[in-house]
Symmetry: D3
């Protein structure tokens, strides 16, 4: 532990995810005393038609983030 | 908040998800005093080979729902 | 299926959750053709110190929703 | 209930998942007194670029498991 | 990986969970070629007022499972 | 979006979680182009009897991390 699950709309590159996984893992080790070998980080990429904010699908918003 | 994660077997249209996201968001705002701009709803579509009920994959059931 | 997981800061009554579970279930049955007996809805109540929006814990915000 | 969510890197066959779903369901019924018809098991297959252990993506590790 | 998240209504003993974690882990190792040291299993115990099936809270059902 | 769910064994202070939420949010904004106001981070604290690694409950391990 810990297990970290990140859910968002697809669109980030493998390199962006790689950096995020590193920084999230570092934060947990440095601030939370987690053992690095036990930190799991997963990315759940969703289509913009499968993520709603304020009742509106991201696909139907003006922006794409 | 709140974050709502809906997991099911793929097969619903974008329009069906759009309506469900609206109704779920309304329910949380009207009954749960959530602030609408903070309500996130995500749909996690799975293949029928990745969802089991009663130990049987949906793909192996007679029905597809 | 579907499985619905609702995560938020604790503070809603059993009656509020009961109504939300009913409305979410209805939405999935009516709009998504889900079989009612297979709809699972879970509420994950978190302390306000365990939910952050925009990098700020709800406990540290001016509001409590 | 219960709902079981299994998240890993894609690569297992439908037959492997079928057996795992059966065994997980049996364990919950036999050890946990769950009612079999209420046990839901879902598999969330991720690309190896979306799962990090110890801050390193599985795609960047020497092994693929 | 894999990460396994089991969500249900509270009421099982530590011993029951211990056995379930063992059996679930074994199933993933034996059937899914998972490396045992990477298997994480978490139990999310909910009050019976926080888990609904078919739109009805477990707390409001005749049975408690 | 994104929604970030961090699951671990309880034991970190509110201050530790506050710092982790900040750093995780920063990582998503800086590396992933997320809009800060849409980043949700939740902590799911579990008892050591509810988190197993390699088939062994953390409560039954020699260490507590």
């Amino acid at each position: 532990m810990p297990s970290v699950q990140i859910t968002w709309v697809a669109g980030r590159s493998a390199e962006q995810k790689r950096k995020i996984a590193q920084r999230v893992t570092q934060a947990l080790v440095e601030e939370g005393k987690a053992k690095i070998e036990n930190v799991h980080v997963t990315f759940h990429d969703l289509p913009a038609t499968d993520y709603a904010e304020a009742g509106v699908m991201v696909a139907d918003q003006k922006r794409t983030a």
